[in-house]
Symmetry: C2
């Protein structure tokens, strides 16, 4: 598997750490929440309600992404998106991102430029700034992203508040990234709709605060797979969840792709990670906000079931397993 970044004439070693940092930060527009941006020992970000929501993700070339499958620009988008989704899943509005990049000295400087362009693209989509970062030499290309967010007076929506009788709903795509991964794994580059969803997911950031405002009792970012992440929510809330497949929307595009590959589109929807949809529980059907789709119910117990029974097959991703 080729997981090294592409190489070209001008390397990061040619440009040097400080010049590279300047080149990817100079002239970038920062939102009002960025009180002090890159270039000093630390950044200063507004935290209007006296609290800050914070989450870190670490992404590794060859593990979380492959440069032969995803151009650096899309890797950059994804690195920021996966982290901002965690902020939204607390019911917070993202305010800022910090980025660490470790890469080999022979990495093309253009790769860093493109990674950076993708990061700024996704940051702009969420209306946040990249306010700080760090770069280092490393045999493996590793990206760390930390996102900050503002609850704007809301109580954080944790994984722990679901109650029997609540309804379960999701916002955002499910199964598209897994379909894209399957397509890439077979050596194809299309359809673009699923390949693009894998390369650069577009989490529904606004749906997080929307769910919090609607009274969501628990919420989680779907990064490992719907059933796996609902299991995390169940464990934290000490409840069970039954997912009803008649409520699960399987987009015709996924059905078509699955048919072409001899795969099961519903399996992608139930177990595929990395779309970064949001899953949440609400106290009653009427509380589920526009844009959210009800997919099941919270019951007494500890397990996630599908149509009342256990789901056959692996349900999610865990590192080193």
């Amino acid at each position: 598997m080729r997981s090294d970044p592409p190489r070209s004439a001008e390397t990061v070693a040619d440009v040097g750490e400080f010049a590279l940092i300047r080149r990817i930060t100079d002239g970038r527009r920062q939102p009002a929440a960025t009180l002090l941006g890159p270039g000093d020992d630390a950044a200063v970000v507004a935290a209007s309600d006296g609290r800050v929501v914070a989450s870190t993700d670490i992404l590794v070339a060859g593990v979380h992404f492959r440069f032969d499958w995803s151009p650096p620009e899309q890797v950059g988008r994804k690195a920021v998106a996966v982290n901002l989704a965690d902020i939204a899943a607390m019911g917070a509005v993202p305010t800022a991102v910090l980025v660490g990049l470790a890469c080999p000295s022979g990495t093309a400087a253009s790769v860093v430029d493109e990674l950076s362009a993708g990061m700024w693209h996704e940051a702009a989509r969420a209306r946040v700034g990249i306010v700080g970062g760090d770069m280092a030499d490393s045999a493996t290309l590793v990206i760390s992203v930390t996102a900050l967010g503002d609850l704007q007076g809301r109580a954080p929506v944790t994984r722990a508040g679901a109650m029997p009788g609540d309804v379960v709903a999701v916002a955002g795509k499910l199964g598209w990234s897994a379909a894209g991964l399957a397509v890439l794994g077979r050596g194809f580059r299309s359809p673009v709709s699923v390949v693009g969803a894998h390369r650069a997911p577009e989490p529904p950031y606004a749906a997080g605060p929307q769910a919090a405002d609607a009274g969501a009792t628990a919420m989680i970012d779907v990064s490992d797979g719907l059933l796996a992440d609902l299991a995390h929510l169940c464990a934290a809330s000490h409840v069970a969840i039954d997912v009803r497949t008649d409520l699960i929307e399987v987009h015709q595009r996924l059905v078509d792709v699955a048919s072409a590959l001899g795969a099961d589109a519903r399996h992608w929807v139930l177990t595929g990670g990395e779309d970064h949809a949001l899953a949440a529980t609400f106290p009653e059907p009427a509380a589920v906000p526009d844009g959210w789709r009800t997919i099941g119910t919270v019951t007494r117990g500890t397990d996630v079931t599908v149509d009342g029974g256990p789901y056959e097959g692996a349900t999610g991703w865990q590192h080193w397993r």
Copy 2:
């Protein structure tokens, strides 16, 4: 050079990502600023004055540390210390740390336990919690740390406020880490005072807010080396600084170690990085607080000079150079 982490019977792959995260976070005490700690999609940290200071560092095995030179516990301390020092250098009090760890599947789980123990040790020294993190599989062991801090109503002290006529002062050790590195590079393990300073620096966190309260006009964390970091401060402030060697304290221990190795202790003090002392400028000698040592003056110009002239030799560290 051996830079891989030590290996043993039980690996991180044996334990698994989620169990490992539980084992290094369960039962740890969190300070009052940790409103929601590890285990959810994101943490929630108090930001009492409506702003949050944030900084990220990325540390790479074999580049920033070597497990044959530093036990994992001390690497953990250092990873957190270098980042908290950036918070202090803004005049803020650290409030929280988030950690990302990428490592090979064959890494001994005990290495992660010890890294974690060191991180918690240093976090406790600064009275902050480790509030979140992420783990991933990677051929190279990489640690990312993000620290948050609270200005408690102070204006942030940037690198940009120094004025001609200000005095330059430092708090914390200078040259000790470089001396320790030189000792380790010769194959020695003592004296412990300098080796320990290299393995696990102890930045003077309280000196940052203290300097801010005393009216510091600019401040920087000395990570690359005193002259290199003063040059960063000069560039940001559009000033020059002259360091006077008759004001620079060279501890007898450093003189002894340098003598034994045929090295120059003063060179370590002027150019050695990684002690994470703080350097700041103050509007007048009387403003320099207790515990800070005056070492020079701010003048018109753009360069850092030593005793009125240019310093011969390399002045600091830059990645990929």
